[in-house]
Amino acid sequence: MDKILQVKDLRVHFKNDGQENPAVDGVSFDVYRGETLCIVGESGSGKSVTSLSIMKLVATPPGIYAGGEILFEGEDILKKTSKQMGKLRGKEIAMIFQEPMTALNPVHKIGAQISEALCIHENYDKKTAWKKAIEMLSMVGVPDPERCANSFPHQLSGGMRQRVMIAMAFSCNPKMLIADEPTTALDVTIQAQILDIIKKNKEERGMTVIFITHDLGVVADIAQRVIVMYAGRIVEEAPCADLYANPLHPYTKGLLKCIPRVDQAQGELDVIQGQVPSLANYPKGCRFHPRCPECMDICKEEVPALVTVGEGRRVACHRICAQCVPTTEEQE
């Protein structure tokens, strides 16, 4: 299959009090054209920083691109100038953020904000761009698109604002969409509507979607492949159905077990003991080892490599590595 994006050994550090802390620490993955890839993790796992890096949007300073490459259709994004990035953002890769209020400009009308991208990337004149903006708004299910185009962001509800963001993201027909927790700030009934719009448009346009979330329920709903991150590293990668049917990494197993289910009654919940380590004090060896119920001696000392263990499956765990035949090992 055709790889639209290749992230190779990405390292992003943040400088704090003279100390450099790794927020993303050697992350490598591929994204295939036309798929929906979910990146899951808790706060501090590095999933948002990874997605911002793909758009080259990490603020430097305090951020530092400490290493690795991000190849979008073969070209390294991290080597591009800001002018080149301006041509890419919105046109080739679009992004939707978690909080649509802070992502929209409060002093410009919605219509103007959507047409701006069209004028810049597609050389539309203002009038046709405005018309196209209204068309985009009706496409994402805004009930009165003309009135919406003439309103300011504060006049709209959270769900409407997120629709505007999606309309904006889709307006230049990008090849890839990055959605960073787009439904976290929304109510569940609105979340269902937004997920539906993203799914439908992705199908129609054959777009590639990278979806970042902490909600494993949302993942099960939209993902084809899933990457699980913990403390700045990938711990597991798998096709969606396989991940839920047979999670391999103890962290993934724990996560799946500790969520209360709405479709069945449960007794006491399973828990993952302890807390997510902070950026400045990552433990040695496997970063999950202090919380891991299956921890071995080697886990405290050596970082487990992310190895291929099956069709499209990779996992970083010493216990799994010890079981599988070493011929499948992959050095990256």
Binding site: V188, A220, C258, V276
Partner: protein, 332 residues
Amino acid sequence: MTQNKKSELYTGAPLLQVQHLKTYFPVYGGALSRLQGYVHAVDDVSLDVYKGETLGLVGESGCGKSTLARTIMRIEPATSGSVLFDGKDVLALKKSELRPMRKELQMIFQDPYSSLDPRMKIGDIIAEPLLVHGMSDAAERREEVYRTLDVVGLDRSYAERYPHEFSGGQRQRISIARSLVLRPKLILCDEPVSALDVSIQSQILNLLRKLQDKMDLTFIFISHALNVIRHVSDRVCVMYLGRVVETAPSERIFENPQHPYTKALLSAIPIPDPTVKRERILLKGDIPSPKDPPKGCRFHTRCPYATARCAEDEPQLREIESGHFAACHLCD
């Protein structure tokens, strides 16, 4: 909650009785800041809470669930109605009489970052309610703080540390300790786990359940997450735009929901299992503004089954089967 305990639950007088409670907030606007109307945050809500149970209060943002809790606590003034706690009307109490009442009635807030004073040591935060309620002996207070720290699973040495040194989950444990230290009868938990990561969320949910069994507590548990509500609640109360639309024992709500809103809400929750396929009810539009709620049934603007009658006639809560109430014309 164990099964045999449940059968004893609903005998005798309820611990808390909310009757026809209304909380309106005035809205001022225009050049002269004249009164323009009222936000009907809580609009004629009646409910009973029995000793030893957990009542789950669920609804989307703006449905009035938090305002209801804050009105019960007398943080917000009620417009009309009554709240009987142990037979006494909380809303009629004078300021001087409030303090003894609050000893019995405590609250845990959503955001553990803003609900703890950053300049106080943990020990002092937990001891403050004791001091306020007249425990003047410092050594006695200290002893009580240590005992409470043990109960919520925190180390005694934490008493000497400050809130910023703790993670979200630990801060929420501190909040819980503060609410427990006076040994209240009823605790109002306002979204206590929404700000936490999933792996931490299950730890706090298990802790609350353990405390309930051990200390004979009654909870009102507010959340927008239906999976969490199912896990903790004995009875569930679903709110929409300031009204209760359905209330029933937990398993009834989840196995056999009656109100179309409850059905839609349940179907919108993503389930963390890609093999579960469900018919999803997608609601149209947004929640109407509580400033100007729709006439008739408040849900009729979004309801897929609405009839002409629903737009005119407001349905009342009616008992459909023992203990299961719903406010919908279609359930007659």
